[in-house]
Amino acid sequence: MCKSHFTPIQCILPPYLTDKLVDSQDKNLSKIAVNTKFRSFRLRSDREFFKNTSPTEQAILCAVARKPTKIPALKMEVYSCNKKASTTDAKLLWNSSSPKLPTDKDAKNVINAGTGTWKFYYDLFGRNSIDNLGLTIQQYIHYDKKYDNAFWDGRRMIFGDGDGTIFGSFTTDIDVIGHELTHGVTQYEANLEYHLQSGALNESFSDVFGILIKQRMLNEDVKQSNWLIGENVLLGNKYALRSMKEPGTGYRNHPELGDDPQPGTMDEFVKLPDTASGDWGGVHYNSGISNFAFYVAAFNMGGFAWEKAGKIWYAALTDKASLKKNATFSDLRKLTIKIAGQLYGVKSLETKAVKDGWNAAKVK
């Protein structure tokens, strides 16, 4: 960039003088004048554009562009539950002010992925932690004996060690850790109700950002990623918890779990009771539908999925005015197409990719 870019005369010259200076014999002065004209035009057109946007459109653009002026710092604590099914007496293993990492492998895993998750949300969207207010990320490991699960309890992440036969430690996949942390982000944003279609969307947002966090940490583009969630925690080379690329193929003929029951299209929507034993209407089943829509959209856009498709999905998740707590797949379809149009143009490749994604998932 040329040094004259920052010269103060650019700010105080009236337009008629700028015009004159464009024709100046002094090459430096004419260069400054052209730059000034160009910037003035851009500022005018930006103002003109913003003047005609609705409050919702402004919220979307600001959510994507906003960055706090003071650079916040990650705050994290890692506790060990020492194989007890309670967080009450958990022991603090590490906090973000300690320079030395703990020796515990699971602690290292959650610190690594938790840091990657915080950076993902901050670097790309200016989001300061789960609540965007700098909440300390609390991760509890070694929960219960052979506990084969990870969950978000409304305030913190909790990880089990797995039974060692079917499941390994639930800290071994970046995407699983990103998934749980994103449940926190969703709670502070659209707060999608955890049942039926809105619950499936809640699950899907966690998978979407879980995979994006992993892809960014591993520097994988849409073609390099295998789009698998939990490929390590479910033991055995050919198994993963879920596949976003081909829902229903995360595991097949597993000796204990059978076949992955996720549908990838709306015509295969799974109807289950809205109870705990019915997975609240199949939230972990039907999330495959919007996962697949995201995968197709991102793949068709190409490159790094977090750059465009991720930005569109994040703008949707944080648009509380448009994405209601009881939103349906169809609602998210409409909103993501609208956002893609606003960010990239209604006739853009990106908008077409989003439409193609939802069409592939047969969501109207």
Binding site: F151, D153, G154, E180, N202, S206, G250, E256, D279
Partner: protein
């Protein structure tokens, strides 16, 4: 009487089950259920697992924390025996 402990939910929904014969009377079980019965609802928990107790009167969601000391050992044994219900 035969009782069944079920565990459902999780990041991939899996049902686990364990059974046991107990010498509790129906009245005793009814009293126990009154103490440990949980209102169904995910609240703000996501991917969480939950327990249900099943016996001849029905299936009830239970709060593990509310299990009285007297019954804790039986429930812990059941929990240790939980095995995946194959689909």
């Amino acid at each position: 009487m035969r009782i069944t402990l079920l565990r459902t939910g999780g990041i991939i929904p899996v049902t686990k089950k364990a059974e046991k014969n107990v010498d509790w009377t129906s009245d005793e079980l009814s009293e126990l259920i009154k103490v440990i019965k949980n209102e169904e609802g995910a609240g703000q928990k996501r991917d969480a697992t939950g327990y249900q107790l099943k016996y001849n009167a029905g299936t009830f969601s239970i709060d593990w924390e509310k299990i009285p000391a007297k019954y804790k050992k039986t429930f812990e044994e059941l929990k240790d025996d939980l095995a995946i219900v194959k689909p």
